[in-house]
């Protein structure tokens, strides 16, 4: 037991989750047992998994072979630094979310709850296996297990047609992506069933086939990560799922795609080309901007968060592209910096997006409303949720001293370091890319102010909100864990970067030099750039307190309460606040190229005036609709072959026979 390696622990935990899944199916009658026992146990597993991941970062890679799988191809497992960091991410985020879930799911009835517990733990196990797999078959099995279980989680509430549609779209795109991955492994494999990653590492591909493999991987993993134009499922599926599940999907599952991309590009492929990086950057930035713009115009809070996930994935992918460029250009140190930045951002996103999703979960749970136009003022009725969510909002808006800022800071530093590159055109392009990243970050702040302001601040837009109850204790605990993660990751980046060093060493055989100390982050050199969040934080707090008490001391602290200023218009009511649509309107106007806007405006004499502004995704209209039509047309053509007359069928056979006879002469 004591000499068990992290890998043993890891697959032990996977097994444990599978058992919990079975147990979930077993107690179809006892809902209390599921929420009271299974979910806490699952959370413990997640915590252990986080520890295992950290241990895996520290220790050398371990191998293990499970006696299942294909005859010549048992499941190979491997726990190295890269898997380690993502396992840690998975465990840490899943712990918070699962603890939250233990409270959140209490109101479900037994039958569905049991199934939910089954798929939930299968989902966790699937994601962990994806990170552990060391051969193509195990990887694909885990990958699809992950997709399938999450599909069943998404369709938990399958009575709603929209949710069914969302789940269908999700599984379809996931499956197509999976087939692309199969083809990618088909390129990488050595024939005769050499499917282990070890073999692929050793194999040498020509640049052409390497590029083919990379593009297939980009397609396959991009489909999972929500890369534009493969993102269409994401804003449908994430809102459809129960909130803890959305949190896991957004926070963790998308990262498995990032993991896969890193694994294939830097570990399995033995050649990296600069143009891959340029492509990835272009796609990433497009995704980031597209996502954030659409997030800004959403009026359903979970859709808003889903779109913002697309944005973050885009930023991560841009970082990935930059890493490839640096690495292909032989700039190991800079590549290490960008890789660190993108890993850091992945971890951060897991925390704050998880936090935000569960936050919305509590709102949904106590109000039953997802449309932001019917919410508001909740900070007074559910303070715990509101204040904990605020942490996540500030973090995702990329504000110091929280974690979102650190990764953006690192990424921007990386962009600033490009002038070293040998390609002149890249030198020109990169600054524009940096500008785009900055723009996306700033827009994210806009989105988050909208989100928080409309949902939690101001006046409640409906009366029933006044009776909204705050989240229960398990929920609070889970949210607090995630919020704490946001704060700590923001305050002690040096430590985290120390942890991430093995990954860069593994993939790029180079580590990021931190010229600072435990409280100051200084990549490359302190001369170039440095950032000490702790100092920053303490100073701000100190000044705030000094001023606060100073003012109290020197002047009287007298306060009166009064009605707010109504500028002479007495009938102020809650509906006069900015609605979600109103908040999105400027963005809709500026970026109208991206979207097709449908809006209903009421006429002036409408007694119950309603306004609806709906921004449709143009990618759907321009890319997916035509494909669907084409398929329908083709199948119609195929159907005409099959028109019932036996004579025609005989003619087919006859023609085939004659054709083959002529053909084979």
């Amino acid at each position: 037991m004591l000499d068990a390696t992290p890998l043993d622990w890891a697959w032990g935990i996977v097994l444990y989750w599978l058992l919990l899944a079975g147990a979930g199916l077993a107690c179809r009658r006892h809902a209390r047992l599921v929420t009271g026992l299974l979910f806490p146990l699952g959370a413990l597993g997640a915590l252990a998994m986080a520890a295992v991941g950290l241990a895996g970062l520290a220790l050398p890679a371990g191998h293990f072979v499970l006696p299942i799988g294909l005859p010549d191809l048992p499941f190979h497992l491997r726990l190295d630094a890269l898997s380690g960091v993502f396992l840690a991410l998975l465990g840490a985020a899943a712990f918070g979310v699962t603890v939250y879930g233990a409270g959140y799911f209490r109101s479900m009835e037994a039958g569905p709850l049991a199934l939910l517990a089954l798929w939930y733990h299968l989902f966790l196990a699937g994601m962990a296996l994806v990170l552990l797999a060391d051969d193509a078959y195990a990887f694909m099995v885990a990958w699809e297990l992950m997709a399938l279980s999450s599909y069943f989680l998404v369709t938990t509430d399958h009575k709603v047609p929209v949710i069914r549609k969302a789940g269908f779209l999700y599984l379809l795109i996931a499956h197509v992506g999976a087939v692309a991955l199969l083809l990618c492994f088909g390129v990488l494999q050595g024939g005769h069933g050499a499917y282990t990653f070890d073999y692929m590492r050793s194999a040498a591909l020509t640049p052409f086939w390497a590029s083919a493999a990379f593009l297939l991987a980009l397609f396959g993993f991009g489909a999972k990560a929500g890369l534009v134009p493969l993102h269409v499922w994401l804003p449908e599926a994430h809102p459809a799922a129960p909130s803890p599940v959305s949190a896991l999907m957004s926070g963790v599952m998308l990262k498995t795609a990032v993991y896969g991309l890193l694994r294939v590009t830097f570990d399995l492929l033995n050649v990296q080309l600069a143009w891959w990086g340029s492509l990835a950057i272009a796609l990433g930035l497009l995704t980031a901007l597209y996502g954030v713009v659409f997030a800004a115009v959403q009026s359903d809070m979970k859709r808003l968060l889903a779109w913002s996930s697309i944005e973050n994935v885009g930023i991560i992918l841009a970082g990935f592209g930059l890493t490839v460029i640096f690495y292909a250009d032989g700039k190991g140190g800079l590549a290490a910096l960008t890789l660190t930045a993108l890993l850091y951002h992945a971890v951060n996103h897991a925390f704050f997006k998880g936090l935000l999703f569960v936050g919305t979960g509590s709102v949904l749970h106590s109000t039953g409303v997802r449309h932001m136009g019917a919410l508001g003022g909740l900070i007074r009725f559910m303070p715990w949720t509101a204040w904990l969510t605020l942490v996540g909002v500030l973090a995702i808006a990329g504000l110091p001293p929280l974690n979102g800022f650190v990764s953006e800071w690192l990424l921007l530093q990386a962009f600033l370091l490009t002038p070293g590159l040998s390609h002149q055109y890249l030198n020109m392009i990169i600054p524009v890319a940096a500008a785009a990243v900055a723009l996306a970050a700033a827009l994210a702040a806009y989105v988050m102010v909208k989100f928080y302001g409309v949902v939690f601040l101001g006046q409640p837009r409906a009366e029933n909100l006044r009776h909204a109850h705050d989240a229960g204790w398990p929920e609070r605990l889970g949210m607090a864990w995630l919020a704490a993660g946001c704060v700590l990751l923001g305050l002690f980046p040096s430590v985290v970067i120390g942890w991430l060093a093995p990954v860069t060493r593994l993939l790029l055989s180079q580590t990021l030099v931190n010229d600072g100390n435990w409280l100051m982050l200084a990549p490359v050199s302190a001369e170039r750039a440095s950032y000490a969040p702790v100092v920053f934080f303490l100073v701000v707090v100190a000044i705030t307190l000094v001023v606060f008490f100073g003012v109290k001391r020197v002047y009287h602290g007298r306060t009166r309460r009064a009605a707010p200023w109504d500028c002479g218009f007495p009938e102020q009511d809650a509906r006069m606040q900015d609605s979600a649509e109103g908040f999105g309107q400027p963005i809709r106007q500026i970026f109208s190229v991206f979207m097709r806007v449908e809006r209903e405006t009421p006429d002036p004499f409408d007694a119950q005036p309603r306004y609806r502004g709906d921004s449709r995704d143009k990618v759907w209209l321009l890319a997916y609709q035509p494909i669907a039509d084409l398929v329908a047309w083709l199948s119609a053509q195929a159907g005409r072959l099959q028109h019932g007359s036996i004579q025609w069928y005989l003619i087919y056979s006859f023609a085939t026979l004659i054709f083959l006879l002529v053909f084979t002469r």
């Binding site: 600054p431 524009v432 900055a438 723009l439 970050a441 601040l457 950032y531 705030t544 306060t559 900015d578």
Partner: protein, 314 residues
């Protein structure tokens, strides 16, 4: 180090104290240019003092967020004043936050103010918050790009290093900085709620941006906000100076140059304030939806600056 600490505190306190003065000076110049009788130079101090003495009036639903925002705002601006080299160049704090962190700092303050404005839930608060965020999402990256141009030249994002490179290395003309300068001016007008983006002296709620956000504030809270606003203007001017006319800022560890530095600062501030007043008088406030175009131009100029750096100076 101790010298550094002394300098640091000295400079920060100095900035905090001088900030309303600059505001007053700008208002005075504007009054003169508009042919009005000018308020005294110390008018801002009086306003602040008056406000501190009043009883605070809070809306019924004002929550902690609303009440704490002014303090956080003030603290952020104070820290900013501590980071930007105004008179001296070796500041123990400045490694804690480079230019990117500085932008983050401004963003932090802005977001808190916007959230506070939405807390009560009046029509104008949310309106102001929305407009503020709208303007900032273009202004912020533009500002970042301006900094990037400078840091591409000096190979650092540390303000002291930038100033060191620009001021105390051999004199070079950087065309890219010209673009940057224009962009910086456009951004700073937006960020400080000045004409042509916003009008600090407006009393018509519908045209307000910044003022609409702080419509609900009174007394000590309002005083802190006014002060913070003045401080912000000061910091921006200091930034402009540090980036574009950095000569005269005392290099590291040379206290003798300090008095000269202070004089230089005062001179530059006088000139800058006057210049700002002139520009404000000459231009008129633009409609809200022209603002994105204006700032978009600024953004483009900043990016263009970087590109020219690669073309001409790399």
């Amino acid at each position: 180090m101790t010298a550094g600490l002394i300098l640091q505190t000295f400079q920060t306190v100095l900035a905090i104290l001088l900030a309303p003065l600059l505001m007053g000076w700008v208002n005075q110049c504007r009054a003169w240019l508009q042919g009005r009788a000018a308020p005294p130079l110390t008018q801002p101090y009086r306003v602040i003092r008056k406000l501190f003495h009043k009883d605070a009036v809070l809306a019924h639903d004002a929550g902690p967020l609303f009440r704490f925002a002014p303090y956080i705002l003030f603290a952020c601006m104070a820290l900013a004043a501590g980071i930007v080299p105004t008179i001296a160049n070796d500041l123990p704090f400045s490694p804690a936050a480079d230019v990117i962190a500085l932008v983050g700092l401004f963003a932090l303050a802005r977001v808190f103010l916007a959230l506070a404005a939405m807390d009560i839930g009046t029509a104008f608060g949310t309106l102001g918050a929305r407009r503020e965020m709208l303007i900032s999402f273009l202004a912020e990256p533009a500002l970042l790009m301006v900094f990037f141009t400078a840091s591409l030249i000096s190979h650092s994002t540390e303000l002291p290093v930038i100033v060191e490179t620009l001021a105390h290395k051999e004199f070079v003309i950087y065309p890219s900085m010209a673009f940057a300068a224009v962009a910086f001016w456009m951004v700073s007008t937006a960020e400080n709620a000045r004409i042509p983006i916003d009008n600090p002296t407006t009393h018509l709620e519908l045209t307000m941006i910044h003022e609409a956000m702080i419509l609900e504030y009174s007394a000590r809270h309002l005083a802190l906000i006014e002060w913070a606003v003045a401080l912000k203007l000061f910091v921006y001017s200091a930034l402009g100076i540090a980036l574009f006319v950095p000569w005269g800022i005392a290099p590291a560890g040379d206290l003798a140059a300090l008095p000269l530095a202070i004089l230089a600062l005062l001179a530059k501030m006088l000139a800058g304030g006057a210049g700002l007043a002139v520009l404000e008088t000459l231009s008129a406030k633009m409609r809200l939806f022209r603002a994105p175009e204006f700032l978009g131009t600024a953004f483009m100029l900043a990016v263009l600056g970087m590109l020219t750096h690669f073309l001409l100076e790399a």
